[in-house]
Amino acid sequence: MSKPSDLIQGTLDLLILRTVSLEPMHGWAVARRIQQVSADALQVTQGALYPALHRLEQQGWLKAEWRATETGREAKFYALTRAGRTQLEKELAQWERLSNAVGMVIRMA
């Protein structure tokens, strides 16, 4: 099992926001999606996922509602709020800057 430190601190929020920005999703789907898209390179700590979802909901960046999945079971779906979208853009811009900078340093050094 992966430890929280496998993900760079604070990136979990970004990943969740980005994932949910496509369409409303339940927790398990969020975890799956991150794993699949990153071709299993990013193992989301499932235990850390839910507290993060709850925190983002509390901060008003996500809103949640219970509705039926394709299989007919009830699940809690998370969707991005307007504030969440702004936050996502901010975090994305920050991430770009950081990864560009790191990339540059690595190439130039």
């Binding site: 099992m1 339940h26 235990g47 507290p51 509390q58 699940a75």
Partner: protein, 889 residues
């Protein structure tokens, strides 16, 4: 009762399980199902798939807890639960809880009570608009550190200064109100124009005095206090312009002041600030403005906006230099000294109050370390419980919070009880406050005090709870669980913490004990000092003769003479005399610049002395001893040779010997032979106050030779039996002479004297109270630590005994441990007391702040108390039964 408990728990778990909790569970179950489905499709058995999914997700309980944390409401929920749990744990140990709560309540109560005194006296602004702009102005010279002002100098300063918007003077001038009812002595001040503008308070009716009122002949106007207006004049709205009778003369009412006007306080014949002044009359300027030797005006002024104190001081200095050039005989040598009114009012009490607050704070610290120590001990015995909780998923911060909830609950209970104590304490303090304590009237129990109490309760809760909480949460899970049922021994680190706490407690208690000891020593010194008079069975009273009916000495002399005879004729009176003032009532009139036959004053100084008048029996009635020569007698009259009595200090200072009888003093320049006054007697010294460093030179004229009219006289009656019974007859004697005279301030001389001890007594009482509390707490602390450690080591002691140790060895071993802790505390405490001694020295009398007797006694007492507190647990240790010890393994 068991079924009831179960039922209660069930009910709680039902109601507490909120909708949110259920949703979280559903969410997590959904996740596990989905995950398991994936594993199942990959070929696992349902059970295997389920396990894999659970492993992947991690501890459900932890996730739940973390999610709860993410929702902010969790804090409140948790706190409620923690508090509930805390109540239950404390309830299981009521003795333990009561002990901590009570000690905390006592110390919190003490702090709150002292704080509310400080709030009323020091923190609240004075009751005048922009009170920080009001200053008092004094004169000072080489001989006098702080002196009243001459009225003519005051008038010139008022006219010439640039720095003050308003400058005024006041001087005590009591009046007698007659008319309807018994004549009443009014506390009264003669004030110059602008006095009330300095205070910033305008009359509610009528007008303030102006400079016209200061001219001779215009002075018969009066401003009444609200209280007098209501009590004597039925709040008559048309009072302004009416005439009332003061000192047997008509005065026109010019105005009435608003209610609750507080007197700003004064030195000379003082009315304490906040006390009532009944009437104000204009100060009348008369006489020769070029003679400025007499100083009795108290100056008060309001700084102009934007003018700093320093500039005002410089302005006054420059002005006085100019005045000294204009009046080289009298104004020369004086410098001005401005003091903010606030400092002048509370300055003397600030140190005392801050020292007391400091002492109360130390007691609180001791109570805190005590509570921390007891909690630490308990946390150790609860280590297993805590370990189990941690294993079940309680996070560290959660555990700390849980422990803190407990200590906060204790401290809040202590605070609540403490507030009740403080409520009573403030009342008690008000009753105990020394007579004339500044601003005593503005001390109240109010919201500020309760806020303060709440704040220190929360603060102490955090303070004494944090260390044990962190300690407990740090506990090593595995080890605690493995140690299982066996009471785990405290780790070295914990033992160190607890020892440090006890050492700190003992040190703080020693500091307080030293302070209290020093105060006790100085109080004993004060009481032991020979007062210079015998106050037992002496009754005193005050009489003042109105100017209108007793305008000259020629009228006063027969009155005083006859009154003296009447008083001595009262049955039960041993001897009755009268004089211008009583011992220990502050400093009296001082006269400087007289001549002594054949002697020269030291360079840059002048001969000066307190001056008084006394009749033939005054000294005997007070019990003042005669050292040389004789007292006055019936032959010392206005027609006979001028004589005086002086005190020993004056004799020694100016004649160099006690035997100054026969020396001669003159009060005029270039004295002719008949101007010389002969010293006929030398009497013992009496200080201005019992705590004054030394007596000042003093002299007395005989009443029948007084050089100018003394219209206020104190009667001193020494009784054969109970003096209190004589008050009616004294009144009757005065009224027999003149039914319009008021007899005021009828008091026992012991009361007068006692009042001057009230300040050191107050300090001593509180210091002793705090020291006792501190000592008790520290003893409990030592007892707690030693008895805990004995409890932990029963097994070891059992083994020792089994291996042949004598009970005495065990006893000594345990006692040594405790006494060593105490000794460390004592050394630190006494060292700190030595360093802090300077703070106290101003409050001490006749004892050094490093008094070796006090320090040694405190050290011995502390060792004794420590030994006593160790003895009981040590005895228990000797009783350790080797068999039980071994079996308990």
């Amino acid at each position: 009762m068991r079924w009831f408990d179960i039922l209660r728990l069930r009910w709680r778990s039902l109601t507490r399980r909120t909708r949110v909790e259920r949703e979280l569970d559903r969410e997590l179950t959904f996740h596990l199902d989905q995950e398991a489905e994936v594993y199942r499709q990959a070929g696992m058995s349902p059970a295997e798939a389920r396990h894999a999914a659970e492993r992947r997700l991690g501890g459900i309980a932890q996730i739940r807890e973390e999610c709860r944390d993410m929702r902010r409401t969790s804090y409140i929920e948790n706190f409620a639960r923690d508090a509930h749990y805390a109540v239950r744990t404390l309830g299981r140990n009521p003795g333990f809880a009561a002990a901590i709560v009570l000690t905390l309540a006592l110390s919190i109560g003490a702090n709150s009570a002292i704080f509310s005194v400080i709030d009323g006296v020091l923190l609240r602004p004075l009751p005048y608009p922009k009170a920080d702009r009001i200053v008092r102005i004094f004169f000072r010279s080489k001989s006098f550190a702080k002196f009243p002002v001459n009225p003519f100098d005051l008038r010139d300063m008022r006219a010439r200064n640039q720095a003050f918007g308003c400058l005024a003077g006041m001087t005590r001038a009591d009046r007698q109100l007659s008319g309807a009812g018994e004549p009443q002595r009014l506390s009264s001040f003669a004030v110059t124009a602008g006095y009330f503008r300095v205070l910033g308070i305008a009359p509610a009716l009528g007008r303030e005095f102006n400079t016209q009122d200061e001219l001779p002949g215009n002075g018969n106007v009066v401003i009444l206090s609200d209280r007098l207006w209501r009590t004597r004049f039925t709040a008559d709205p048309n009072i302004v312009g009416r005439k009332i009778t003061l000192d047997a003369a008509p005065f026109t009412v010019a105005g009435v002041m608003p209610p609750n006007l507080q007197h700003p306080g004064n030195d000379y014949h003082s009315v304490a600030d906040g006390d009532t002044v009944d009437v104000w009359t204009p100060f009348t300027y008369q006489g020769d403005a070029s003679f400025r030797g007499s100083h009795y005006m108290e100056a008060i002024a309001r700084l102009k906006d934007g003018v700093a104190m320093g500039r005002a001081q410089a302005d006054l200095d420059a002005m006085l230099e100019q005045l000294a050039l204009e009046h080289p005989d009298s104004t020369k040598g004086w410098r001005a000294w401005t003091v903010p009114l606030y400092d002048e009012t509370v300055g003397s009490s600030r140190r005392l109050l801050l020292v007391l607050l400091g002492a109360a704070g130390l007691v609180l610290l001791i109570a805190c370390s005590n509570a921390a120590n007891l909690l630490l001990a308990r946390a150790t015995s609860r280590q297993r419980e805590i370990a189990v909780r941690a294993a079940l998923g309680a996070g560290r911060s959660r555990l700390v919070r849980q422990m803190l909830a407990e200590s906060l609950l204790i401290s809040l209970l202590g605070g609540g009880l403490g507030a009740a104590f403080a409520f009573g304490g403030v009342r008690a303090l008000q009753a105990l406050l020394p007579a004339g304590f500044p601003r005593a009237s503005s001390i109240h129990v109010d919201a500020v005090m309760f806020t303060f109490t709440l704040a220190i309760a929360l603060g102490t809760g955090m303070l004494f709870g944090l260390a044990p909480a962190l300690q407990a949460a740090r506990a090593d899970l595995q080890q605690s669980l493995r140690e299982g049922g066996r009471g785990s021994t405290a780790g070295a680190r914990q033992q160190w913490l607890r020892s440090a706490l006890v050492i700190g407690e003992v040190a703080l208690a020693c500091m307080l004990l030293t302070g209290a000891g020093l105060m006790l020593r100085s109080f004993v010194n004060l009481m032991r000092t020979d007062p210079g008079f015998r106050g037992e069975r002496v009754l005193t009273a005050a009489v003042s003769l109105p100017q209108a009916t007793y305008p000259k000495r020629a009228v006063m002399w027969p009155f005083y003479n006859r009154l003296g005879q009447l008083l001595n004729d009262i049955p039960g009176v041993r001897v009755a005399g009268m004089g211008s003032d009583l011992p220990w009532t502050g400093y009296d009139e001082n006269f400087g610049g007289f001549a002594i036959e054949g002697r020269q004053p030291p360079p840059n100084a002048e001969f000066h002395a307190r001056y008084h008048v006394a009749d033939a029996n005054y000294f005997q009635a007070l019990g003042v001893p005669l050292l040389r020569g004789r007292f006055f007698d019936a032959h010392d009259t206005s027609g006979s040779r001028a004589v005086m009595v002086i005190n020993r200090t004056m004799a020694r200072a100016y004649w160099g010997t006690d035997d100054a009888a026969g020396g001669r003093v003159a009060f005029v320049d270039n004295p002719k032979d008949e101007d010389w006054v002969t010293v006929v007697g030398v009497v013992g010294d009496i200080k201005d106050h019992p705590s004054s460093a030394s007596a000042a030179p003093a002299m007395w004229w005989p009443v029948q030779q007084m050089p100018f009219g003394f219209s206020n006289m104190s009667l001193v009656v020494r009784a054969v039996g109970d003096p209190a019974r004589l008050s009616g007859q004294i009144r009757a004697a005065v009224h027999h002479m003149d039914p319009n005279l008021a007899v005021a301030d009828v008091r026992l001389m012991n009361e007068v004297a006692g009042a001057s001890f009230s300040s050191p007594r107050f300090a001593l009482f509180l210091a002793a109270l705090f020291a006792t509390l501190a000592g008790t707490l520290a003893a409990i602390g030592i007892y707690g630590v030693i008895s805990y450690s004995v409890g932990q080591r029963t097994h070891e002691f059992g083994l020792r005994v089994a291996l042949g140790a004598k009970p005495w060895d065990v006893l000594r071993h345990v006692m040594e441990q405790g006494v060593r802790l105490a000794a460390a505390g004592i050394v630190i405490g006494l060292g700190s007391a030595l360093l802090l001694g300077r703070v106290l020295s101003a409050l001490l009398y006749g004892v050094s702040a490093a008094d070796p007797v006090t320090f040694t006694s405190v050290a011995l007492a502390a060792i004794a108390v420590a030994a006593l507190s160790c003895y009981i647990p040590a005895r228990r240790a000797t009783g350790a039964d080797p068999m039980t010890a071994l079996r308990s393994e």
